[in-house]
Symmetry: C2
Subunit: 187 residues, 2 copies
DNA sequence: CCCAAATCTAAACGATTGTTTAGATATTTA
DNA sequence: TAAATATCTAAACAATCGTTTAGATTTGGG
């Protein structure tokens, strides 16, 4: 056919994702993306259509990175203990990826909470309700919990993740551990 | 002297504060501020110097609004129970002011977490450490708690406030209550 | 080997950002 | 009432935003 791309889409998406993770959507400009991704605007637009499209791709990239801890959580069989380990995994993957910026999805959830961007809000809602459903399933393995208790605790854990995201930005390892332990103390 | 101002600074700051609260700093433009405040850019700049200055004023305005619940918390004498009531007060003041946007300070803390805006970051840190110190003081009234426990629980509560801010945006009254109750279950 | 097609560079696009300025209008004081 | 001065309107400012375009460059197939 014709000339070949001089970059690999997966690689530049990964770089964009880290930039979005670090700065959020609005505070990341096309100029910054050009520099970080190492390609220029034309290439970005021909590959991803728009900044918005690139952001959606970045969210999917992030999703694939955390997919394995989700799978681990789903396939585990120790109930609440698995959720706690999921919390630990969540902060660890952040520091593994050299990023002390909390969770990209939680950050995005916060940034777009008052936006009317249907696509992204939908993406967030799907993520949140998926996570909540997994929590519910895990909590249900303890037959002594009433359904009301299960729902109540699932909501609590979902919201506790916001605190965790904030913690992983500024708090020490020890403080994060304390927070997680205290969160699960009476679940 | 000369011509009089056709607006009262305190009133227009209040309106600006609500707009910032609703949309965040970056997503609030001068045009939006002109419309909401009912005065034009010249007046805004002559009164507040810059968008940034107006935002700082708005933060101070928010601080004065929540001052009474802080005073109430400080002057109370039921230890942890007072902190719990402070949590309830925090969400109630939001709905009183017709705003389901969480806490302006928590929102700002999140939005500026990766910024290098020293003034605002400092403002946030002062607020957070003040709040933490009040928590510590309240927790200390229970003499059975070790100092380590007190610090641990204070951190936990500070982070729990991030979950609360998220909750007050999307969750129902009932879910918010459940969250607060569960937060204090083992404190 | 040359034409066709895809990707590159780099400049320009219009819109919007926060900020400033020029000039008209209103108010106070002498 | 007239001069002084602060506030108003409204336009323009430069910079940046995300996006598009024109033209050079590289590649592969007939």
């Amino acid at each position: 056919m014709a000339r070949k791309k001089e970059y690999i889409e997966e690689e530049v998406i990964d770089k964009a994702m880290h930039l979005f993770w670090h700065n959020g959507y609005e505070n990341t400009s096309m100029k910054m993306l050009e520099q970080e991704m190492g390609i220029n605007k034309f290439s970005i637009y021909s590959s991803f259509g728009s900044k918005h499209g690139l952001f959606l791709k970045s969210l999917k990239c992030y999703n694939s990175k955390i997919k394995n801890i989700f799978e681990k959580l789903k396939n585990a069989s120790n109930g609440v203990e698995d959720i706690k380990e999921f919390f630990y995994d969540s902060v660890n993957i952040g520091s593994q990826l050299g990023n002390k910026k909390g969770c990209l999805l939680t950050n995005t959830y916060n940034e777009f909470s008052e936006s009317d961007d249907v696509l992204i809000k939908n993406e967030m809602n799907v993520f949140m309700s998926n996570l909540k459903n997994i929590f519910i399933e895990k909590l249900k393995t303890d037959a002594s919990k009433s359904e009301e208790t299960v729902l109540k605790q699932a909501n609590f854990l979902l919201l506790a993740k916001h605190g965790l995201a904030a913690a992983s930005r500024v708090n020490t390892q020890k403080e994060i551990e304390d927070y997680i332990e205290m969160t699960f103390k009476n679940i």
